[in-house]
Subunit: 244 residues, 2 copies
């Protein structure tokens, strides 16, 4: 069995680069058996798989590496025995996606929030998630971990928000943006449960000016207590499950 | 102005110890001006305050330290100019607390989840939060950061769950425990909105056997999508805001 022990190995070095956003153009890393299975099942193209020796028999196509080399190509504190390089799906064709109930993230910065929101949209049976370009990168290892494979259950795209809003207008989909303002209404007053795009904004700044301009309805969550705000993922969870 | 430059200073060394759970018996650390204000306003006893030189004039009672010394007594990656030692409130008297609508955390391990859930209970106007002894420590710096001062808005206690359940039975408060089992009903079927204790379980294992035995109602959140589960803080947010 040929075991790669050197961090200078070409395939290892290429994979390592994918920990940095600037190198993630067409490919990204996944870690662990669960995500590998989810990716395979969804038909995602897995270009390279690295496993430690103990899993070699299970993955005959994989490159066998030492634990040290495997640790080198992940940023996880508790690395599992598998890392794979997966091809991105960058071809967005609005005609091929169900847009009946979608989640839009407008500048959500924290990778944990982005991942959790995509996982929650998946749990809630939403049809797709769109992220503005200034959100945390969907393909970062941290977002990958908190999504728990939900990106393989529903389409997730990074987009130009103004183009998305244009498309949604054409399709007569109502844009509901979450905010705390004088013009907003309680989400409980919204009767429409489909044909909606739910928009959540940045952790500190809220929704962008573009979203404010383009939204059909501004909604808020009434808070009877003393906390000044809700975490954006919590607000998203409450709203998503209100619309199922 | 006397500026402490040494990490060997007695007050500095005592404060530093509070980063470790084993030393947090009666006191804990808070960081930043916002939490300091919240603590002061709530009447919490602030035993010692450390600030950097630039804030000395605003805090005449504080110990002035260098930025390096301040960084030494916090585990934050982006330390602010203030750290304070605060006295815990360990005196639990059930007679003095409103128990009309409470949140119970049963073995929630992640500090971010614990903090976010307490913040969400606060936002939702819940009356108190109780944590089983095996939850992440409420007084840890990470939980403190994600609570964002909500522990100064509502009572938060670490308790023996069996004693709590005994008390709740006496008071005829319904224990609703979140779980995914054959015996659970959808949370939407629960009509009662007060006199309730909502229990959330561990991230991996769910609620404990004790909670299963003591719960009056087991509730779940229907998930029309493909994700296997919801993050516990998201589930908590959905449930808390259902009961307001």
């Amino acid at each position: 069995m040929n075991i790669i022990r050197s961090k200078e190995n070409k395939a290892v070095k290429s994979a390592k680069k994918l920990l940095q956003k600037k190198y993630r153009k067409d490919t990204y890393l996944i870690e662990g058996f669960h995500l590998f299975e989810e990716a395979s099942r969804s038909g995602a193209e897995i270009l390279e798989t690295f496993v430690t020796e103990e899993f070699a028999a299970k993955f005959p196509e994989a490159i066998i590496v030492t634990q040290e080399v495997l640790n080198f190509i992940t940023d996880s504190k508790t690395p599992q025995g598998l890392v794979a390089v997966v091809k991105m799906n960058n071809d967005l064709d609005y005609e091929k996606i169900n847009l009946n109930k979608i989640l839009v993230l407008d500048g959500v910065q924290d990778p944990g929030n982005v991942g959790t929101l995509i996982r929650t949209a998946d749990a809630g049976g939403f049809d797709a998630v769109f992220l503005s370009r200034d959100c945390a990168d969907v393909y970062s290892p941290k977002v990958m971990r908190s999504m728990q494979g939900s990106n393989y259950h529903l389409p997730v795209y990074s987009v130009d928000l103004s183009e998305l809003y244009k498309k949604l207008k054409e399709l007569k989909i109502s844009v509901l943006a979450s905010t705390l303002s004088d013009e907003s209404i309680s989400y409980k007053e919204v009767e429409q449960k489909s044909g909606i795009a739910l928009v959540l904004g940045n952790e500190g700044q809220g929704i962008s000016q573009l979203t404010k301009n383009e939204a059909d309805v501004l909604v808020h969550i009434d808070m009877p207590g003393q906390a000044e705000s809700l975490n954006v993922a919590i607000a998203g969870g409450i709203l998503i499950f209100n619309f199922i």
